[in-house]
């Protein structure tokens, strides 16, 4: 009996014997995250993809004018909004790199939009733009005697305002990141170029930009991925209106969800994947180095 037992165990000892104690602990300590990951990422995503499997949902999406509009809005948000934001951030990072006490104070205030939650400030902007009671139109009336435009009732203006709110919120973060990149550039380079009589454009073109190029492009791509998930700026400012013309993909998915059209919601997200996955792949190569 004892012989057969040891003989059967010899080729494959139990798992615990093959692993060293630290490795056993490694698995135990990794388990909580793995459980969270399996229960709240793998299962939902798998289930969602299964829901989005029918071609009929994609036909329905294709025939829904709101979807086409949301896709265009998302592209405008990403391509125009993010690039404007990153250019301003690049410019302001140069401003905040100046060594002045008052600029240091300003940088403390400048970070406020990032430090406070977005909901109250977006609602604050929403009321400012209220056509009757908002402070913007009241000032316009006071100075010109005319009624101001109905800001959030024009889809183009409303989308621009949502982009503005997004920029207001996330500009400080990206400026700060680009500022760290700028401060890492050796000061000697600028001093040498001063001696050679370079102007500010030449300094930017030949010193600043080459050292910040990679960081800038990484930041732009990362910001694009994150902005795809920016639900608050659009939802709380315009609610997707007027007439569902200012939806972006993230608010549209939730709109379908609220209308209990889960397969449409998942299908609209799956449609975004051809654009998201290459960006994600690129960022992962960047960060897991």
């Amino acid at each position: 009996m004892a012989i057969t037992l040891s003989a059967s165990e010899a080729p494959s000892p139990p798992l615990s014997a093959r692993l060293s104690p630290p490795q056993v602990w490694g698995i135990v300590l990794l388990a909580p995250y793995l459980l969270v990951f399996l229960a709240f990422v793998v299962y939902p995503v798998g289930y969602g993809l299964w829901l989005a499997r029918q071609p009929a949902s994609y036909v329905a999406l294709y025939n829904d004018p709101i979807f086409a509009r949301a896709a265009v809005n998302t592209l405008i948000f990403l391509v125009i909004g993010i690039n404007i934001k990153m250019l301003i951030a690049l410019f302001l990072s140069g401003f905040f790199a100046q060594q002045r006490p008052w600029i240091r104070w300003l940088s403390v205030i400048f970070i406020l939009p990032w430090a406070v939650p977005s909901i109250p400030t977006i609602l604050s902007v929403r009321f400012m733009l209220n056509p009757e009671w908002g402070v913007v139109n009241q000032l316009i009336f006071k100075f010109t005697g005319d009624d101001g435009p109905n800001w959030l009732n024009d889809p183009a203006v409303a989308l621009a305002m949502a982009i503005g709110v997004h920029i207001w919120k996330s500009l400080p973060f990206w400026t700060l990141i680009l500022l760290t990149g700028r401060l890492a550039i050796s000061h000697d380079l600028y001093e040498a170029s001063d001696v050679d009589g370079a102007n500010w454009w030449q300094k930017f073109r030949y010193i600043t930009w080459p050292s910040m190029q990679t960081l800038y492009i990484t930041c732009t791509l990362l910001s694009m991925i994150w902005t795809l998930g920016d639900f608050n700026s659009v939802y709380l400012l315009t609610g997707g209106g007027p007439a569902d013309l200012t939806h972006v993909l993230s608010t549209l998915g939730i709109r379908y969800l609220r209308l209990d059209q889960l397969s449409l919601a998942m299908a609209s997200i799956v449609c975004a994947m051809p654009f998201v996955l290459p960006l994600v792949y690129f960022m992962m190569k960047r960060l897991s180095r």
Binding site: P21, L30, Y33, L112, P113, T121, M128, W133, I225, G229
Partner: protein, 283 residues
């Protein structure tokens, strides 16, 4: 004292020409919110830049729950606090254990787990919300605080693990070897060597998770619905349901809601800047 040259004055003027618009742009929505919070109802809608009769009466109305929209203010404040703290604690536990396991114990498959976590980090949260909502329903967790806590841990953990792994990769291997030679078990190594050395990063990650949970709107709005279950941001969003919303009270509540995270952010700025922004984008 040396008088500034004309050139220096010119540079300063140019800097001010950038600085003043930046200041105004940053402050407008916050100032607007503040003016509303200290305005009586009649003043609030008159579009003045400073109220004729500033008052803290709105704060008193909010604190005493003297309005239909505010009848559950304190319990919602409590919900926000408990959920944020729970997310902070759980994220710290899950992420520290995982980072220790991947970085120090070099557990087989650790790299793959790290990559999966990073992948989750890059999936926009609003996209994950759709299937997450249905899954929480399947698990029977809808309208239960655990659904929001677990969802926020799922979202906060990947970045937390990544930051902690980056930080713990920098600790010398000799440290673990020396402790093991002295007969420390793995758990002692974790408790007595690893956690104390990682403190600054742990503070940063804990703060990150707490702020993320406190500020979250979308998941809270999907997963919780009862008035006594919801968090403050959802309650703020619910103000919009009525046409004649009391905007001065909405702004007051928003102002109160925005104060704790701003205070936490500035108090831990040292850690946040060191631990997070440096790690956020590696060039």
């Amino acid at each position: 004292m040396k008088l500034p040259t004309l050139r220096e004055v010119g540079t300063e003027a140019k800097l001010l020409l950038i600085g003043i618009p930046v200041f105004i742009w940053t402050m407008i929505p916050i100032y607007h919110m503040f003016v509303f919070a200290i305005s009586p109802k009649e003043d609030a809608f008159s579009g003045k830049l400073w109220p004729a009769h500033p008052t803290f009466h709105n704060f008193s109305i909010v604190f005493h729950e003297q309005h239909y929209f505010l009848r559950d203010f304190w319990i919602q404040f409590w919900n926000s606090t408990v959920i944020a703290l729970a997310v902070g604690a759980l994220t710290l536990f899950v992420a520290t254990a995982a980072a220790f396991s991947i970085s120090r114990l070099r557990v087989p498959g650790g790299r793959a787990v790290m990559n999966m976590a990073l992948f989750t980090y890059f999936i926009p949260a609003a996209f994950l919300a759709v299937p997450m909502y249905r899954t929480m329903g399947t698990y029977g967790l809808l309208n239960n605080h655990w659904s929001l806590i677990l969802a926020m841990v799922t979202i906060a953990a990947p970045y937390a693990i990544w930051v902690l792994k980056q930080a713990s990769d920098k600790l010398p291997v000799e440290l673990d070897e020396a402790a093991t030679m002295d007969g420390a078990t793995t758990l002692q190594l974790f408790r007595l060597v690893y956690v104390p050395l990682m403190m600054p990063s742990l503070v940063a990650v804990g703060t990150y998770a707490i702020l993320l949970a406190w500020n979250e709107y979308l998941y809270a709005f999907l997963l919780l619905s009862k008035d006594t279950d919801i968090t403050l941001p959802v309650a703020l969003g619910n103000f919009l349901a009525a046409d004649d919303s009391p905007w001065e009270l909405l702004m007051t509540t928003g102002f109160i809601y925005a104060l704790p995270p701003a205070a936490v952010y500035y108090a831990f700025k040292r850690y946040m800047v060191g631990g997070l922004t440096a790690g956020a984008v590696k060039s």
